[in-house]
C-alpha cells in the first residue's frame, strides 16, 4: 500500500524528515518480516540441530544446544574427559584422571608431564567442556531400522498409478463441466462442490466394509488407495474447471470449424493452455499421497512391506527410535515435499489460489 508519501506544500526540511521516516519505516517493516520468518521457521532449525545432535545430549539440560561432543584428552592410552575445574588461580580446563568422591586427580592437558594434580571437591559438580561437532549417527540409526528406500518406492508407485487415473478422469470431468450444455448441469456442479465438504468419516465405515474381506477383499493391497482416484477428485475437478472456463472459447470454435471433435479440442486446444494448473493439480495429488496416513493405517497395517512413507515412519516411531533419530525421520519425510514446492513455486502457489477465488 503506497499511501501518504510526499504530501503537498511542505518545506524542504520537513520533506527531509519525511524521507528519514520513510527509510526508517521501510527498514522496520523488512526487519519485522525477517524476524517473523525466523521465529516462524525456528522449529525447523531446531529439527535440523536435533538431527545432528549426539545421543543423550538432546535431553540433557546441561549440555549445549548445538550438536557437540565432550572434549577429551588422550593420556596413557585412555581418553580422559576435560572439565572446568575451579582452582585458586581461576578456572582451569583439566582432564579427569582418577575420580573419587571427596577429591580427584586431574591432568593438565597443557602440561601432562607434571603428572596428576590432586583437587579437593566433588567432581560430579564440575561442568564438562563441549566442542561443536555434528554427528551423522542418528541418520545411520534411522536408516538402519526404517526401510526408507522401500517406503519411498512404494509411495512413488502408488502416487504414479493413482496420478494417471486421477488426471485422466479429473481433466475429462472438468472439461465436461466447463464446455458442455448439459440439462441440470448446474445442479450437478453444485453436487460436486457439496461432495468436497462431506466429512470422510461418514463414508469411511461403508467403504471400509466394501474393501474388507466381506466383499472385495482388498485389505493388504494398494487398491483401496489407488482405485478411488480413478473417479476423479471433487476439489481438483473444481480447480481445473475454474481454469478451463477462463480460457476463451474462440479457439475451440475455430478448431471445431476445422472439424475437430470434442476430444481433439481438449487435447490440442485446452490442455496446452492449462499446463500450469494441470501440474499444480498433479503436485497437490502427489502431496496428498506423500502425506497419506489414514488409509494406510486402515488397509496396510498388516503389510509392512507395502506401507507408504508417512505412515511407515510414524508407525515405527513408538518402538525403535531415540528422540534424535525421530528428528531425522521428520527431516527426511518433509524434505521431499519442500524441495518439490521450491522447484514449482513459480506457478504452484499462484495456480492453487487465483483460480479458486473466482468461486
Amino acid at each position: 500500500m503506497k499511501f501518504s508519501r510526499n504530501p503537498p506544500h511542505k518545506s524542504d526540511s520537513s520533506r527531509l524528515t519525511l524521507r528519514v521516516w520513510d527509510f526508517t519505516g521501510t527498514a522496520m517493516l523488512n526487519l519485522f518480516m525477517f524476524l517473523f520468518i525466523v521465529a516462524y521457521l525456528s522449529p525447523l532449525a531446531f529439527m535440523v540441530i536435533a538431527s545432528f545432535t549426539p545421543r543423550d545430549q538432546f535431553l540433557n539440560p546441561n549440555a549445549p544446544i548445538l550438536p557437540s561432543e565432550r572434549v577429551k584428552f588422550p593420556y596413557e592410552g585412555k581418553n580422559l574427559i576435560v572439565y572446568q575445574v575451579p582452582t585458586e588461580d581461576g578456572i582451569k580446563n583439566w582432564a579427569l584422571y582418577k575420580p573419587a568422591r571427596r577429591s580427584s586427580q586431574f591432568i593438565d592437558p597443557q602440561n601432562p608431564e607434571a603428572g596428576p594434580i590432586l583437587w579437593e571437591g566433588q567432581w560430579r559438580t564440575l561442568q564438562p567442556i563441549y566442542r561443536f561437532k555434528p554427528t551423522l549417527d542418528n541418520f545411520r540409526d534411522f536408516l538402519a531400522i526404517a526401510k526408507l528406500p522401500l517406503y519411498f518406492k512404494n509411495t512413488l508407485i502408488v502416487a504414479l498409478i493413482s496420478e494417471i487415473g486421477l488426471l485422466f478422469s479429473s481433466i475429462a470431468v472438468a472439461y465436461g463441466f466447463s464446455r458442455f450444455r448439459i440439462p441440470g448441469g448446474k445442479y450437478l456442479f453444485l453436487l460436486l462442490i457439496a461432495t468436497i465438504m462431506i466429512p470422510s468419516n461418514i463414508t469411511l465405515v461403508p467403504t471400509y466394509y466394501l474393501f474388507s474381506g466381506h466383499m472385495l477383499n482388498w485389505i493388504g493391497t494398494w487398491l483401496p488407495l489407488i482405485v478411488p482416484h480413478f473417479f476423479g477428485s471433487a476439489i481438483l475437478i473444481f480447480l481445473l474447471r475454474q481454469n478451463f472456463k477462463s480460457i476463451p472459447p474462440d479457439l475451440d470454435e475455430a478448431a471445431m470449424l476445422d472439424g475437430a471433435g470434442p476430444l481433439r479440442i481438449l487435447i490440442s486446444v485446452i490442455l496446452p493452455q492449462s499446463i500450469p494448473v494441470v501440474t499444480t493439480v498433479a503436485l497437490l495429488h502427489f502431496f496428498y499421497i506423500w502425506n497419506e496416513t489414514r488409509l494406510s493405517a486402515l488397509y496396510l497395517g498388516i503389510r509392512p512391506d507395502l506401507q507408504l512413507i508417512s505412515f511407515a515412519v510414524q508407525r515405527n516411531q513408538s518402538y525403535f527410535f531415540t528422540p534424535e533419530a525421530l528428528m531425522v525421520g521428520a527431516l527426511l519425510v518433509m524434505i521431499v515435499p519442500v524441495i518439490v514446492l521450491f522447484l514449482s513455486q513459480r506457478f504452484f502457489m499462484q495456480d492453487m489460489i487465483v483460480t479458486q477465488i473466482e468461486k
Partner: protein, 307 residues
C-alpha cells in the same frame, strides 16, 4: 444454467437442430461419467449405507447377527457424555484455531501489500512452506521445539513448564496459514487502486482505509477461507492434506468415532456418530452461507453468473 451459456460454443453453432443439443449433452455426460460413477459408488451409496448402518447394531466381527434397532444409536449418543464432550471439543477446536489462523493470515497479507517490503516471493514461499509439511514430521518437530523452548525460554525466565499438547493446536494452526494467506493476499492485490486514492483524498487514514475498504472488498476471500477451514476442521476434503497424526487426534470427535469403529468394532454406533457430525457440520455451513448475505460483498456483475 450459466455453466453452458457462457461457454456456449456448442450451442451457438448447433442450436438449429435440437438433436444436436441432445448430442452435446450426451457427450458432456460422457465426460462427466467418471465422476458420476465415483459419486454414486463412493459417496452417495456409502452415505446412505452409513444411514442404514446407524439404525442397526452392526458389529464388524459378527455381521451375521446384525438387526434393526431403530433410533437406539442416536438415543445412545444423547446419553453418551463422552461423545457429547468430543463433539464440543471439535467445535472448540474450530473456534480456537480458525480465528487465530485467519487473523495472522490477514495481518501478513496486509503487510505483504506494502510496496516497501522486499523479497516478497521468497518470504511468501517460506511462509507457505510450513503448510505442506506432513503431519508425521510436524508432530516430532513440535515435540522437539517444546524441548528447546523449555531450555531457551521457559527455564531461563523461570516460567512454569509447558503443558505439552496444549500448544500443539495453536502451533498447527499457525503453521497452516499458507492457503488462507495466499487467498487473502491475492484478493487484496486485486482491490482497485482508485478506491484507495479516492478515500485518501477524502482524508481517510491508513486504518480507516483498511477497515472500510480492504476488509469489505476482500470479504469473499475471508468467507472462502472460513468455509475451507470449517470443511477441514470437520474432516472434509482440503487442498493440502497433511495426513493424520495416528496416536493423537486433533479433532476429538474424529478420534472418538475412530475408537468406536476400530477398537469397539461397533460400526452401527460409529455410523450414527458420523451422521451426527455430518449434520452439525451441514448446519454450520448453512448458517455460514446464510450469514454471508450480511457481511460478504458480492460485486453486482458476479451475481448473475455466480458459479
Amino acid at each position: 444454467m450459466d455453466i453452458a451459456n457462457q461457454s456456449g460454443l456448442w450451442t451457438k453453432l448447433k442450436l438449429a437442430k435440437p438433436t444436436r443439443l441432445q448430442q452435446e449433452a450426451r457427450i458432456g455426460l460422457l465426460f462427466l461419467a467418471p465422476w458420476l460413477i465415483g459419486f454414486v459408488l463412493l459417496k452417495a451409496l456409502p452415505i446412505l449405507a452409513a444411514l442404514v448402518f446407524s439404525l442397526t447394531d452392526f458389529k464388524m466381527l459378527s455381521p451375521e447377527t446384525t438387526k434393526f434397532i431403530g433410533l437406539e444409536n442416536y438415543i445412545r449418543f444423547f446419553r453418551d457424555s463422552e461423545a457429547g464432550a468430543s463433539l464440543l471439543g471439535s467445535l472448540e477446536y474450530f473456534l480456537l484455531t480458525v480465528p487465530l489462523e485467519m487473523v495472522v493470515a490477514l495481518a501478513l497479507a496486509a503487510i505483504f501489500t506494502s510496496e516497501r517490503l522486499k523479497n516478497k516471493r521468497i518470504s511468501q514461499t517460506l511462509i507457505f512452506m510450513t503448510s505442506i509439511i506432513p503431519s508425521t514430521s510436524i508432530f516430532f518437530i513440535f515435540l522437539g521445539s517444546l524441548q528447546y523452548a523449555e531450555r531457551l525460554i521457559f527455564t531461563p525466565l523461570n516460567l512454569p513448564p509447558i503443558e505439552g499438547f496444549d500448544l500443539l493446536l495453536p502451533f498447527m494452526a499457525l503453521w497452516s496459514i499458507g492457503p488462507g494467506f495466499l487467498i487473502m493476499y491475492s484478493a487484496m492485490q486485486s482491490v482497485s487502486r482508485e478506491i484507495y486514492e479516492a478515500a485518501r483524498v477524502d482524508g481517510a487514514g491508513r486504518i480507516a482505509r483498511f477497515v472500510y475498504i480492504t476488509l469489505p472488498m476482500i470479504s469473499p476471500a475471508i468467507f472462502f477461507t472460513l468455509v475451507i477451514n470449517l470443511t477441514g476442521a470437520f474432516g472434509g476434503a482440503v487442498l493440502l492434506d497433511r495426513g493424520y497424526i495416528l496416536n493423537f487426534s486433533l479433532s476429538p470427535m474424529e478420534g472418538y468415532i475412530n475408537a468406536t469403529m476400530f477398537l469397539d468394532a461397533d460400526l452401527g454406533y460409529a455410523s450414527a456418530l458420523a451422521w451426527v457430525t455430518f449434520a452439525v457440520m451441514m448446519a454450520l455451513t448453512v448458517f455460514l452461507f446464510r450469514s454471508a448475505k450480511h457481511w460478504v460483498y458480492f460485486p453486482e456483475e458476479d451475481e448473475q453468473n455466480e458459479i
